[in-house]
Symmetry: C2
Subunit: 223 residues, 2 copies
DNA sequence: TATTGGTCCGAACCCGATTCCGACCAATAT
DNA sequence: ATATTGGTCGGAATCGGGTTCGGACCAATA
C-alpha cells in the first residue's frame, strides 16, 4: 500500500513500519553521504538497512524519493531536529551585538553544519541531473539558503558596521560564493578542519564586508 | 587497433579516421554540453555523429574517455585553439596598466569562456563521481585554474592598487569563489547575459579587492 | 479462526554500457 | 589483378542496476 496513505488505528504495526522506514533512511543517508548518490545502489541501501530491496520500495519509494526523504530529514523542510538548530543559530546571530560576533556565530554554525550537509547537497546535485523532482528540491533549497543570506546581510547592516557601498545583494553574493559546497571542498582539499573552515570564513567576511574598525581606512593601510 | 598507437605512412585512411574521430568528439561535445554527461548515451553520440556505436568505441574509447577527449579539445591541455585564446587574454591582462583594466579584461574573458566551459566542467564533475580518471582530470583542471588565479592576484598586486591587507591567496580565494560554475549558474538564473556576468564580476572584484581610488576610505563613506 | 499489513525471496523486465563476430568496402601491397 | 588490411556496420550477447510482480510467511487484529 502507498506508504503515505496508510491509515492506522491503534496499531503496533504502525510503529514497526515507521521503524523500518527510519532504518532505510538512515542507511540511505550514510551511503549517499559516503559514496554519493550514483555509486550507491538500492540493493546497497537494502543490505545496509537489513531489509529486502522490495521493502525499500514499499517503505519509501524509488531511488530519487529515497534521496529526497533523506534530505528532508537532514535539512528539515518540515519538523525535523536540525531545523531547530538552524533556528538556534539564527537567534544567536540576531542576539549578537557586534558585526564580528554575528559573523563568527554564523561561520561557526556553518562549520558545524557543512560537513553533514555538503555530501547531501552534492548527492542532490547528482540526482538533479537526471531527475526533475530532485532538481526542484535542489533549487528550492538554494532559494532558501540565498534568502537566509540576504537576511543575514540585512541583520549585519543593522549594526552599522557594514561597508555602506555594498548593498545586501552584493553581501549575500559573496557569502553565497564562499559558502558553496565547491568552496567547502576547496578548503577541505587543504586539509582544513571544520573549525579552521569557520575561522577562515569569519576572517574573510570581516575583511571583505565590514568597514575598517579603528578609523576609516586604517585596516587598509596597515599592510 | 588502439587508436592512439596507429601508424600510417602516406595513408588516405589516416585522415578519414581522424575525420571520424573529430565528428564523434564534436557530437559528444554538443550532447554533453546540452544534456549533461549522464543523460547522454553512447548510442546518442553515435547517432548524432552518424556512425555506429562500435565506431565510437574504436575511434575514441569508452564513455569517460569520450568526455576527457572532449574536455581536452575544449580546454586544450595540449595544443588546441582555445589554449591560444587563453594565452591571448593573459597577455592582455599583463599589458593592461591599471588594476581596473586588468580586472575588466579578465572578467570579459571569463564572460566569453564560461558559457562554453561551464557545461563541460559540470559534465566532468558528474563523470568524476564514478570515474577516477575523470576525477583526476577535474582536479588537475581545478589546480590549473587556481594557479592562474594566484598569478592574476600577483599581477594585480604589481599595480600597487590591491588592498595591502589581502595576501595573494585571499584574493585568489575570492576570485575562485565568484568564478565557480555554481556562481555562474546563480547569475544565469537571474537571466544575465555573458556581458552582464563580466560586468558584475569586474564590479565585484574592484569593490572587494582594490584599495579605494580617490583618497583612502572615500569609497567606504560615500554611502 | 479469518483477515490484513509488512516483509521476504526470487524471477522478470527494461535500459544503457561494453564487447564480440562476421560482413563489406575501399585503399594498399605484392 | 589479387590478397591483405583498416575502418565501419549490424546486430547479437553480456552485465549491472532500477523497478515491478507474485506467492509465501508471520505476527497482530477483527
Amino acid at each position: 500500500m502507498d506508504p503515505v496513505k496508510r491509515r492506522y488505528r491503534s496499531d503496533v504495526r504502525a510503529e514497526r513500519a515507521a521503524a523500518t522506514r527510519r532504518a532505510v533512511l538512515a542507511a540511505a543517508r550514510d551511503l549517499f553521504a559516503d559514496g554519493g548518490y550514483e555509486r550507491t545502489s538500492v540493493a546497497d541501501v537494502a543490505a545496509r538497512a537489513g531489509v529486502s530491496v522490495d521493502t525499500v520500495y514499499t517503505a519509501v519509494g524509488r531511488k530519487p524519493e529515497l534521496l529526497l526523504a533523506v534530505v528532508d530529514m537532514a535539512l528539515g523542510s518540515s519538523d525535523e531536529p536540525v531545523r531547530a538548530e538552524q533556528r538556534d543559530y539564527v537567534v544567536a546571530i540576531r542576539a549578537a551585538e557586534t558585526a564580528r560576533d554575528k559573523i563568527e556565530v554564523y561561520a561557526a554554525a556553518l562549520g558545524r553544519l557543512m560537513p553533514t550537509v555538503v555530501p547531501l547537497l552534492e548527492a542532490l546535485a547528482q540526482a538533479a541531473v537526471t531527475d526533475p523532482g530532485c532538481a526542484r528540491v535542489r533549487d528550492a533549497i538554494a532559494q532558501r539558503r540565498a534568502a537566509n543570506m540576504r537576511l543575514f546581510a540585512a541583520d549585519l547592516r543593522g549594526t552599522g558596521e557594514l561597508r555602506p557601498d555594498l548593498d545586501d545583494d552584493a553581501v549575500a553574493d559573496v557569502v553565497w560564493a564562499t559558502n558553496s559546497p565547491q568552496y567547502f571542498v576547496l578548503l577541505g582539499s587543504r586539509g582544513w578542519t571544520a573549525t579552521a573552515y569557520a575561522e577562515h570564513l569569519a576572517d574573510l567576511w570581516c575583511r571583505y564586508l565590514l568597514e575598517p574598525a579603528e578609523g576609516a581606512g586604517a585596516r587598509f593601510r596597515e599592510g
